[in-house]
């Protein structure tokens, strides 16, 4: 019996245009939680897909208990008790929890293989209970939270007797409390002898859970470290291959006159009594847990959703916004949270994406002038350092960070006074992050009033002049940038719930 449950040696994998993996080694012990870290595009997801059989490696060997195996399909990996939970889960919203858990491996009985529903529901119930979740297994999955979806995915994996559980960014869209739940479940599984591999951008996850961490960079294997023995700084430099001392660029603060004010905004069931203002050359941060109602407030301000009461003032004049079109015409722009679904037309060339928000500029005699469009796109793209060979490349071919920059270009193409940025650096790698911060500072200096929603606390602290915290649809605190600390923000975001949570 070898030391390792799963071992991969010298894995190579190429796609047209990129070498995604280049000689990657990996070892997993039984009952171990192992983190994989690296910047976006480092090859983490591809690597995971090799383990789960979704991709067949070009070169390299995979061993389970020292026996060499070849996974050609995910089914073959499943037969070796490997299960994966992907970032965008495979949830069927119109089916019940039981159906979701047992899909593909239902218990059947009789000659015509009738599904044994009664037993399945019972099994589902006890599986959920073992994960300390007391949802009714008959519930339809569509109405549940992301955290609950993940619990169902985990239950699905356990129901297939998974010995190796792979999680891709499991905490990406969870709130603090939900993360804690997930940590507890993961630890329990580990104690039961399940080995867990997870990818995360959050250092916190790694410190809390993992005993070892494997770092990838540009598809190459950089090293495997004991979590207890590596410092944050060393880990970052392993990931990016350079020292990053100052992620958050400093900016000279010269806050101007008030540009936008909100009074007594409310939408029943979502948020109430929201009042705040933002000034020219100011970055106002909105902190809070996921689900605190921050995005909902901004979507109402931008005219995507209606509101039940309250007033908006732009430069001290009351305004009414009924649609995004009106918001843009008045000078309010939104960088949506989900850039792929809400921000971009992925199938389109970069230049068409950039000009979409303001096509008026590019017509002569009612006919669009593509040359003019490309020129403007090129100018804006260069200003914001979009990395792409030409403006003819499709938006889908860009990395997350560069896609985000294209959405920012799109905003700049219109004549705005207030910019609302909803999670501007979500899913963006470290290098592109600091570029986006530079852009934000530039824009603030040019006189925009910027509102930033972010769940990344160091980012809010590093970037914002003023920070507002929200909890359960209400504003719970306001801090000047210099006086705010992670502890203060966290306390305001969750002050009445479980005070023991605040240490972390």
């Amino acid at each position: 019996m070898s030391k390792y449950l799963l071992e991969l040696k010298g894995i190579d994998k190429s796609f047209p245009g990129v070498k995604a993996l280049d000689g990657v080694d990996f070892q997993l012990k039984k009952g171990e939680i192992h983190a994989i870290m690296g910047e976006n595009g480092a090859g983490k997801s591809t690597f995971i897909k090799v383990i789960t059989g979704a991709h067949e490696p070009d070169k390299g060997e995979i061993f389970i208990h020292d026996t060499q195996v070849h996974f050609r399909t995910p089914k073959e990996a499943q037969r070796h008790s490997i299960a994966a939970i992907y970032q965008h889960g495979t949830i069927y919203p119109h089916l019940s929890i039981t159906e979701n858990i047992f899909i593909g491996h239902e218990d059947v009985m009789g000659p015509i293989k009738t599904i044994h529903w009664g037993m399945l529901h019972k099994k589902a119930k006890s599986l959920l209970k073992s994960l300390s979740c007391d949802l009714d297994p008959h519930t339809l999955v569509g109405g549940l939270t992301v955290a609950e979806h993940q619990i169902i995915e985990i239950a699905k994996a356990i129901s297939q007797n998974a010995q190796i559980l792979i999680m891709d960014e499991p905490t990406a869209s969870l709130s603090r409390r939900e993360c804690d739940e997930l940590y507890k479940i993961s630890e329990k599984l580990r104690d039961d002898g399940v080995s867990i591999i997870f990818i995360s951008h959050r250092f916190e996850d790694m410190y809390r859970l993992a005993t070892r961490v494997t770092v990838l960079r540009d598809g190459k294997y950089i090293g495997c470290y004991n979590v207890a023995e590596i410092s944050n700084k060393d880990l970052i430099s392993a990931m990016v291959g350079r020292e990053i001392n100052q992620i958050y660029p400093k900016r000279e603060r010269k806050i101007g006159k008030e540009v936008f004010r909100v009074e007594g905004l409310r939408r029943i069931g979502y948020y109430e009594n929201i009042s705040f203002k933002v000034c020219r050359r100011e970055i106002l941060g909105f902190s809070g847990l996921v689900g605190a109602g921050r995005s909902e407030v901004m979507q109402s301000i931008f005219g995507i959703d209606q509101m039940d009461g309250g007033k908006l003032f732009l430069e001290n004049k009351e305004i009414i916004v009924k649609s995004p079109l009106e918001a843009i015409n008045l000078g309010i722009g939104l960088l949506p949270e989900d850039r792929q679904k809400q921000g971009l037309v992925l199938n389109w060339e970069i230049y068409k994406n950039i000009t979409l928000s303001n096509l008026k500029q590019f017509i002569r005699h009612t006919i669009l002038r593509p040359k003019k469009e490309r020129l403007q796109a090129k100018v804006l793209g260069e200003k914001i350092a979009v990395k792409s060979p030409t403006v003819f490349e499709k938006a889908s071919s860009l990395s997350g960070g560069n896609q985000q920059k294209v959405v920012i270009c799109k905003l700049l193409n219109t004549d705005l006074k207030v910019l609302i940025l909803d999670e501007p650096t979500k899913g963006v790698d470290v290098g592109a992050k600091s570029q986006i911060y530079d852009i934000m500072n530039d824009l603030a200096n040019q006189g925009y009033g910027i509102i930033m929603i972010s769940s990344d606390m160091p980012e809010v602290l590093g970037m914002c002049d003023r920070i507002i915290t929200m909890r359960e649809g209400k504003i719970t605190g306001e801090f000047a940038g210099e006086e705010a600390t992670q502890e203060k923000l966290l306390k305001a975001s969750m002050n009445t719930i479980e005070t023991e949570d605040k240490a972390s």
Partner: protein, 340 residues
């Protein structure tokens, strides 16, 4: 970009259309040889393209609906309704005054009826949020039903129409080419600029690709979507009256099932049923190919029992070949980029 580079770029981005064009030429010459040279004659081509012209006009409307991700099943019924209403008015004017109204009025009335029908679809789909396929499935029956009511079960026949009106579809006014072909050409050119080079056109593609992104980019998605149905209705009205003029009879069964021909022409021309993509010149080629199949199969003296099935096979086959060619071309582009 150099001139040579531009040509290569145009070829690379129009690979599907070039392939379709090649297929049309191949089919034309093949049929010509088999039919002993009777296919590629001026007379036959003129007659064939008159049919294609009507299909093209409809395709131009339908494609913008399909690009937004919708579908309009009611165009056949709209054609019948518009043809019936406009020629009924023509007949009544002959009876009342002795001379009928000018053909241009008949055509305008038909277009207005079509626009109105499109407006009904547009309102149901964008204001009441009924799914396009369900809405137009309903209005398909409703418009056909109204046609029955308007006609009172009677046909409008040749003797009820003025010679000027009938001449619209039979006269070769310019260069010996039938008027309908000219009308279709004008519609094509306008649509080419509308979809490819106007703001509204760009917005139509944006909605089809991602309605959410389009709305957040400040596009009034409902208004634009409704517009596509209204335009399609107008085109169906125009096509309906031209159809009646060509066959010199309006009846309540006019253009029954025509909506499926139009959808087939769109799909052949590379307009994705999933929405978001499709070129105007591609759709025209699709209409031409479809019209040619209708015209050529009888000429080959293929048993009518077989014609439908063969037509279906050719449609499926050409879509498959097209998909393969496009996939290969895309892979080549990627490979070239990798090598560079």
């Amino acid at each position: 970009m150099t001139k040579k580079g531009t040509i290569r770029y145009i070829c690379a981005t129009n690979i599907r259309e070039l392939c379709l064009f090649g297929l049309i030429l191949l089919l034309a010459f093949g049929v010509n040889v088999r039919s002993g040279g009777s296919f590629l004659t001026a007379g036959n081509l003129n007659a064939m393209f008159v049919d294609i012209a009507i299909l093209t006009i409809l395709t131009m409307g339908m494609m913008s609906v399909i690009i937004t991700g919708g579908i309009d099943l009611s165009v056949g019924s709209t054609m019948a309704l518009a043809g019936m209403v406009s020629t009924s008015i023509l007949r009544d004017s002959i009876h009342a005054q002795g001379i009928g109204i000018h053909p241009i009025w008949v055509i305008l009335i038909a277009i207005c009826v079509g626009l109105l029908a499109g407006l009904v679809n547009g309102i149901l789909i964008t204001v009441l949020n009924v799914m396009p396929i369900i809405t137009t499935l309903g209005t398909m029956s409703i418009f056909r039903g109204i046609t029955h009511l308007v006609s009172d079960g009677r046909w409008v026949l040749q003797q009820d129409m003025t010679t000027e009106f009938l001449a619209v579809a039979t006269e070769n006014r310019l260069l010996g080419i039938n008027n309908l072909i000219w009308i279709a050409l004008v519609v094509f050119v306008i649509n080419f600029y509308f979809l490819g080079y106007s703001r509204t056109g760009r917005k139509i593609y944006a909605i089809g690709n991602s309605e959410e992104s389009a709305a957040i980019s400040g596009i009034n998605t409902k208004r634009i979507t409704a517009l596509t149905y209204i335009v399609t209705g107008g085109m169906a009205g125009l096509a309906g009256v031209l159809f009646v003029a060509r066959f010199a009879a309006a009846q309540s069964e006019t253009a029954l099932g025509y909506e499926l021909f139009v959808i087939a022409a769109c799909v052949l021309g590379g307009v994705s049923i999933a929405g978001g993509t499709g070129k105007v010149h591609g759709a025209v080629l699709g209409a031409i190919l479809f019209g040619m199949l209708n015209n050529a199969l009888p000429m080959l003296r293929i048993s009518p029992f077989w014609q439908e099935a063969i037509r279906g096979l050719i449609i499926l086959g050409s879509i498959l070949i097209n998909a393969l060619v496009v996939r290969r071309a895309n892979r080549k582009v990627i490979e070239r980029r990798v090598a560079a």
